[in-house]
């Protein structure tokens, strides 16, 4: 079998503007600059850090889903030798949350618990075993309240409010309604209307590294906080806010992070309480969550009930889409306001659509809070939309691939809801997977119990508008050039494994004609690195990458001006490549990069530059469309081939072909890895993973019972990179870390239909569910 990395691109730069890769770094398929430190265990994760006099914090957590806290008796815990301090919720009364309009969370419960597993108190002790033992000695007396566990109950105005101060009629965090075009007219013009409901399960991220925070008091009321976070900037802001400290008195450091997938986007109780206890006790405090606690901390995929109605013309074009979604969000808002928008705003991609309406609700229930998980809010509706497209194609006698291709939006268009789309590689993606998989020849012809399915999708590259209103850079990068030729790159980004450290090193190296290894990336340290909003919404390559190129351009300019004088040519005649600066027309007239740096420092003084990025204003037709618009969009198509064991209901995925338009690939191997990771996570959501509850109790808080796929369940993944050149991306790059997950589950669902003739509308497609459906269908067929 050939290594996908060795295959040529399916379509190299189909809409490429032709900007050359001057530095020779861009588009290579190579190792990451920080690869070896992670592989050899040298990388320091937060839990690997130990400080003198450090103590360990352990949370006491709620055992009821909804109750008043009558009393907390910590006397037995505090009497235990080795216990050095405690903290309870009322000590940290300030509410916080990343989304300013929905700050409803406190670090620990105050007066009331709203989900099983909610932190109530924290015990600090000299070792973890003592802290754990002490936490079990705490007695909490409750007065139970009626819990809200379902969408129906959350919508019921007669039920009690989970947030008693809420003025909403029921447990609704946010309702969004948007309508574009004339939906009624659209349906009137339709030759075919397809309507059904879908249920998407909740699932959780399962980063292998749990959430960990380590706080150390410094003199003069200052504090250093190490946190395993995706978003150092938001943690920095919220910890300062809750502790009533000045932001400049807190230094927030993000060590190496053992993945997040969206699960480390919020400021967590670990961060705030570790910081609080460190100040209270005057010594370092570490809080490392147990695996079980990570499941309660959650912020994973919202379970969503969806209703979708679509109108189609005979030729497969879409006349109207009417969509409703109810997302069950758990006890706190987290990013739920954003979720309520993301459920609807991406539906007009990637197919041409004029008449569109959606209504979404994000609800509170007495369960651990949901939040952003890879493909945030857009995963659930994509299943409904892509299954509807297949249903229409079958009903209309059209080839689902051709129908999708015919309806693809074109580059440089604006969708009905005001999304300005620049580069689009959608058709190339579809063509790549359809041809490679033999989709046309296999569809409907693989025989009983075997099937093939296709789905397409689009995703964002960062949010146009920052989470909190400001006109500042969303990403910024600082470069310092040493006389040795080493370039130090300072960035507030947070690489959680996705490769953003390498991305920054590669873009900087590309611009300066040096190697990525010549660039040392210092990231995620609020005292050293300029602000970056964080690793979410697939924004880092696009935004931090642009900031990096902006800073590198300034460095290059100074070096070029000095080199031009030395070489006696115009600046425009110079090429930066291979650690040299040389005359394009006469490569033998060259300076080493180091010599050029010396000349530049002689001319300008010490070389250090900053670059920032904020998206340019996109004049949308719709002012209210503040959540959803992105400076660019990525596109994915994938084909899944599945087998169904008709005796057991076990679904096996034979192979997945995936093609992703990531704009320009910076390091092809890293891009492939992101795509493959997305597909893997999609396979988990399609067949295995579900954040199940028994009442309000998360039923399977372990890696034994929460079934993340192992190597055995992961299909062969055949990856194609489709490169477009986005006019606004750094060297044309877009994103690869989230978009490819959107179409995995619908491709599998459509393949299941091809295999069984049944539409499975409620993942995960577990054997018991599949076999029950097959049995019912066989009975019906038998009685018909």
């Amino acid at each position: 079998m050939s290594d996908p990395a060795e295959r040529p691109s399916w379509a190299v730069y189909p809409t490429h503007s032709g900007e050359p890769a001057e530095g020779g770094v861009l588009g290579r398929s190579e190792r990451k600059v920080d690869g070896l430190s992670r592989i050899t265990g040298a990388a320091q994760f937060t839990d690997d850090l130990v400080l003198p006099r450090m103590v360990h914090g352990k949370f006491v957590r709620s055992t009821l889903p909804h109750a008043w806290i009558v009393s907390i008796d910590m006397s037995a815990a505090m009497a235990l030798p080795g216990v050095v301090g405690v903290a309870i919720g009322p000590e940290l009364p300030k509410r916080y949350g990343v989304i300013p309009v929905a700050q409803d969370e406190t670090a620990m419960a105050i007066g009331k618990v709203r989900y099983i597993g909610e932190p109530i108190a924290c015990i600090a002790a000299v070792d973890e075993e003592t802290a754990h033992r002490a936490a079990r000695l705490v007695r909490v007396e409750y007065e139970p309240l009626t819990p809200i566990f379902t969408i129906e109950d959350a919508l019921d105005p007669s039920k009690p409010h989970i947030h008693e101060a809420s003025r909403k009629p029921s447990n609704i965090l946010r309702r969004v309604f948007q309508e574009y075009g004339d939906v009624q007219k659209g349906f009137a013009e339709a030759d075919l209307v397809v309507e059904d409901t879908y249920e998407y399960p909740g699932s959780t991220h399962v980063p292998l590294e749990a959430h960990v925070a380590l706080a150390c008091p410094e003199g003069h009321g200052k504090l250093v906080l190490w946190s395993s976070t995706q978003n150092p900037h938001y943690v920095h802001r919220d910890v300062a806010h809750v502790l009533g400290m000045r932001e400049q008195d807190i230094r927030l450091i993000k060590p190496t992070v053992g993945a997040g997938y969206g699960g480390k986007c919020d400021p967590f109780c670990t961060d705030i309480v570790a910081a609080h206890l460190a100040r209270k006790l005057g010594r370092p405090v570490k809080i490392a969550l147990e695996r079980e606690e990570v499941f309660y901390t959650h912020r994973g995929r919202h379970p969503a009930r969806m209703w979708l109605k679509m109108g189609f013309k005979k030729d497969g074009s879409i006349t109207a889409v009417d969509f409703k979604a109810w997302a069950e969000g758990g006890a706190y808002a987290s990013y739920g306001v954003v979720t309520s928008y993301y459920l609807g705003v991406f539906m007009p991609l990637p197919y041409t659509l004029e008449n569109y309406r959606f209504e979404s609700h994000r609800l509170y229930t007495n369960k651990p809070p949901c939040g952003p998980k890879r493909g945030h809010g857009a995963i659930q509706p994509r299943l409904a939309l892509e299954m509807h497209v297949d249903r229409a194609a079958l009903a209309l006698g059209l080839d689902p691939a051709a129908m999708r291709t015919a309806n693809c939006i074109e580059p440089d268009t604006e969708t009905c809801n005001g999304l300005k789309v620049t580069s689009v590689g959608m058709k190339e993606c579809i063509a790549a997977v359809v041809e490679a998989s033999g989709y046309a020849a296999k569809r409907g012809k693989l025989g009983p119990g075997k099937g093939i399915g296709l789905a397409a999708s689009a995703y964002m590259c960062g949010a146009l508008h920052p989470v909190y209103q400001n006109e500042l850079s969303q990403s910024s990068v600082q470069l310092k050039v040493d006389r040795s030729g080493e370039v130090t790159l300072f960035s507030g980004t947070a690489d959680c494994g996705q490769g953003s450290i390498h991305m920054l090193a590669a873009l900087c190296a590309e611009r300066l004609g040096i190697e990525p290894d010549d660039v040392r990336v210092i990231e995620g340290d609020t005292s050293l690195t300029p602000v970056d909003l964080g690793s979410y919404s697939s924004r880092v390559t696009f935004m931090a990458g642009n900031a990096c190129v902006a800073a590198a351009d300034k460095v290059r300019d100074k070096i070029a001006r000095a080199a031009a004088v030395k070489l006696g040519v115009e600046v425009g005649a110079l090429v930066f490549r291979g650690r040299q600066v040389y005359v394009d027309a006469a490569p033998e007239r060259a300076l080493t990069f180091v010599d050029a740096v010396w000349l530049a420092e002689e001319m300008f003084g010490p070389i250090g530059e900053v670059g920032g990025y904020k998206p340019h204003k996109i004049g949308s037709r719709f002012r209210r469309q503040s959540v959803g618009p992105s400076p660019a969009y990525s596109f994915t198509a994938q084909v899944a081939e599945v087998g169904v064991d008709v005796e057991t209901g076990v679904v096996t995925i034979e192979k997945i072909w995936v093609a992703h338009d990531c704009g320009r690939a910076i390091n092809r191997r890293v891009v492939e890895g992101q795509i493959e990771g997305c597909v893997y996570m999609g396979v988990g959501e399609a067949l295995y993973e579900e954040q199940r509850y028994r009442g309000g109790l998360m039923a399977v808080p372990s890696l034994l019972e929460y079934k993340v796929p192992t190597v055995h369940e992961t299909p062969e993944i055949c990856t194609f990179i489709v490169e477009t050149h986005d006019p606004n991306g750094p060297f044309g790059a877009k994103e690869a870390g989230e978009g490819p997950q959107l179409s995995t589950v619908p491709a599998i669902a459509n393949a299941l239909h091809d295999a069984t003739g049944l539409w499975f509308t409620k993942p995960p497609f577990t054997p018991d569910v599949v076999l029950a459906a097959l049995t019912t269908a066989r009975r019906r067929a038998g009685s018909a």
């Binding site: 754990h132 109790l697 079934k707």
Partner: protein, 308 residues
């Protein structure tokens, strides 16, 4: 980090010393520890004193007088790759290779597998979780969450090697200060999730004895993932010896393995299906697990051919 509770520890040199330690309340034997230490972290067991088997020398496979004797401390990986086992008892080798993960197979012991505590979705959980749900009958509580109106605890026998050992006619050797006792695998287990065996607390499982015979046994384990997971349905099927019947042992559906016999594979699968009454001790629907008993027995039988 999920810490272990504190305990005292000994590693005696002699089985009689171990037996003497174990006679004391609060003592607990530790072999590979792959299940015990997890349960201790979850506070299902909080023994005061752990007594290790590691210096008792209970390792290795020997053949003597038509009997293969496997030391209790032999790891599952060692059992699985032992040439005699692979040739004479392939279903045992297969069963060992389905336990959890290869790394666990190289830690866990055969004796430990035979003494694997019965399992349940509501029992094998961390302490805080069980407190939230309300402790169950098997540990600290008064109600069974699987069958609140039932007669007892329904935690399932889940040891992967047991069905195959049963059908190979294995015997288990226990030693204590009172001497050596032999128990047939087929007599060892009781259909009670709490008191699931009749072994005395001071008895040390020292070896498993397998008679060399011509039994042809097939093993199948149904699970969601092909690594990590415990069985949802576990079956071993024995082809007829001489003119005898087909036989099957079904496990992971009750607190003890179930034994059924029938004239042909179809009847065997049907008998196994009828005998199995799985409850919601596992994630997948119990009705589905019951149906799977029939499928798995039929497939195991089919893999053995016509049996003649």
């Amino acid at each position: 980090m999920l810490p272990l509770p504190r305990f005292e520890y000994s590693a005696p040199n002699d089985v009689r010393d171990a037996s003497r330690f174990l006679a004391e309340p609060g003592s607990q034997l530790i072999a590979g520890g792959t299940d015990l230490l997890v349960s201790m972290k979850q506070r299902l067991f909080e023994p005061r004193h752990l007594v290790s088997i590691r210096r008792l020398g209970l390792r290795g496979v020997t053949v003597q007088g038509g009997v293969v004797r496997i030391g209790a401390a032999t790891t599952l990986a060692q059992v699985a790759t032992n040439l005699t086992v692979r040739e004479q008892f392939p279903a045992l080798s297969d069963a060992c290779l389905t336990v959890a993960t290869p790394t666990i197979q190289s830690m866990a012991t055969l004796g430990g597998n035979l003494m694997l505590d019965t399992r349940c979705l509501y029992y094998n959980q961390p302490a805080g979780w069980r407190a939230s749900l309300g402790y169950c009958l098997k540990r600290e509580g008064t109600v069974c969450h699987v069958a609140p109106k039932g007669r007892g605890c329904y935690a399932t026998q889940s040891a992967d090697t047991v069905p195959a050992l049963w059908l190979y006619g294995a015997e288990v050797e226990f030693q204590s200060t009172r001497g050596v006792v032999l128990r047939k695998v087929s007599d060892m287990y009781r259909d009670d999730g709490m008191a699931w065996h009749g072994v005395g607390r001071d008895e040390v499982l020292v070896a498993v004895r397998l008679p060399l015979a011509e039994a042809r046994v097939g093993h199948r384990k149904l699970r969601t993932r092909q690594a990590i997971d415990y069985a949802q349905v576990l079956v071993a099927v024995r082809a007829p010896v001489a003119d005898g019947p087909w036989a099957a042992v079904i496990s992971a559906v009750a607190s003890s393995p179930l034994f059924v016999e029938a004239e042909d594979p179809t009847a065997l699968a049907e008998a196994a299906f009828r005998a199995s009454q799985p409850l919601s001790t596992h994630l997948p629907a119990a009705t589905w697990r019951k149906r799977m008993v029939r499928v798995e027995v039929a497939r195991a039988a089919a893999a053995l051919g016509d049996g003649r």
